[in-house]
Chain length 110, copies 2
DNA sequence: CGCTTTTATCGAAGAATGTCAATATAGCCG
DNA sequence: CGGCTATATTGACATTCTTCGATAAAAGCG
């Protein structure tokens, strides 16, 4: 029996991964990315009815995706009269980049 | 009947969202994030057996997650003898940041 | 060549997710 | 108030994902 080694062990910290995964999971659907891109391009608030018109989804499904984005803190919304207007959270891109940087040490980014 | 408007329509381009979503989906699991962080901290290749030892998952499940990361282009692997060593793809952080920037216009990042 | 170790694949079970129709809620207008 | 429009919620269904046990494949060892 030969004593073999593959590599020195490295610890894993598992506390922060859940919240990071929640963020990335919210980004892991093409329709939600379409919603975010539309918001970014508009550079302004966008009405729900506009998402519903632009996406190949029924209204409840759009509402469902908007909720997931809201829960992830990626968008905010405001009701004005009958309509509800959505807006990118101010720090969306920063949050994604910060999360990436906290996950991967700085030197990897170079 | 009053003619009402909510907001001017904006187009949605849906071609790139699928591949972007695939990337984010691969990042949307805490165990896969743990694998990536371990690789980043090690700043070197890591043996599969080390992941298996560090994660609360059975060996086939670890292998499954490694495959998803491989398919997403986030890691590469190399077999040497009995062992297989994984390494972060050189452009992981850049790819995440670039994808974010292509999704959200530059001014949002400021 | 068999035996052992390491990793990958297969197949199945349970959980989570995306989607829709139906319905509820909120607010405008007459 | 009563009807109409916009959005959210609920419940059901199909698909996908995570996980595991069983098994296969790859490679060193005797």
């Amino acid at each position: 029996m030969s004593i073999q080694q593959c590599c020195p062990p490295v610890e894993i910290d598992s506390s922060a991964h859940q919240s990071r995964a929640t963020l990335f999971k919210a980004l892991g659907d093409p329709h939600r990315l379409a919603i975010l891109e539309k918001l970014a391009r508009a550079d302004d608030e966008v009405c729900v009815c506009d998402f519903t018109a632009a996406l190949p989804l029924n209204q409840p499904t759009v509402s469902h995706h908007l909720r997931i984005l809201r829960d992830a803190g990626l968008v905010t919304c405001e009701r004005r009269g009958t309509w509800v207007y959505y807006r990118l959270a101010s720090d969306v891109a920063k949050r994604i980049v910060d999360t990436t940087q906290s996950l991967l040490p700085q030197r990897v980014l170079a």
